[in-house]
Amino acid sequence: MKYLAIVWMFSMSLMAASPEVVQYMNELSKTAKAENSSFSGFDAARGKEIFTSTHTGKQGKPMACTSCHTTNLSNNGKNSLTGKVIDPLSPRANPQRLTSTKEVNKWLKRNFMDVYAREGSAQEKGDVLTYIMKN
């Protein structure tokens, strides 16, 4: 039962992404499994932790994904470095989001550097995308 619910939630959340990004998530999932044999699927709760927790970023200062995207992904964010407004990250609020693998890849690389001062692992990327799709 619990398993079914997870499968259901996962497929619901994937509906918020384009086929291209679904494919990308599948590849992340394979890599995550190869890197960690106990990996058993992406998890929005872990994704939330990745998204909302504060770390020492690239500039040596406290940073979180929410520093720019805020905690409400349906609202506009604001780039904390430049002040420029950022359109909502949630694919529900902003259908342009999570439609291009190229965009998603580029920003995850940059933004993990900003917040974690390193690139994200396949599992971390998948978890955080799963969280974004559900919000």
């Binding site: 470095l81 430049t82 420029k84 940059r110 900003d114």
Partner: protein, 178 residues
Amino acid sequence: MRKLLNLSVAALLLAGGVYLYAEDEHEEHEHHASSFVAKPMSKQEKATVLLYQKECGACHFAYQPEFLPKRSWDKTMNSLNNHFGTDATLDPSDHKTIQNYLVSHASKNDRMTGMGGEIAMRISETPNFKHEHREIPKKMVTQADVKSFANCASCHTKAASGSYREREIRIPNYGSWE
């Protein structure tokens, strides 16, 4: 009269032109670049300008390449992994297209006289820029709605179309500049 920057057909059509600053003291600068007759841009040129505006306009205003010389843009493009403390890396094909675009539309003037041999990475740190903006009180720049001189478009309301005329300036919470 105000000298026009060395404009490309591309920038003319999409941006309407850029006004040069502080090269010479000016009285009137009424003419507008868009009154020039320009050849239509090719599809490819249009795509390049749009790519530039999308990629280099994602975190801040997409500065017109005419504000810095070639060696500044080369240095910027060769250090995108640490671009003012952030990661602005591009995929190799976009990187090449954008670097070519910046370099071919760069200012022909060096703009760095008086910088002790340093290569300017910021438009806002070039002597020209500082001279042009010397009368603006600091509090108008550091306020939350502007943040820094890098936010051209917060004061220059037509900056996105390449126009920096004085009567188009509105400083947030202070108003026009006459």
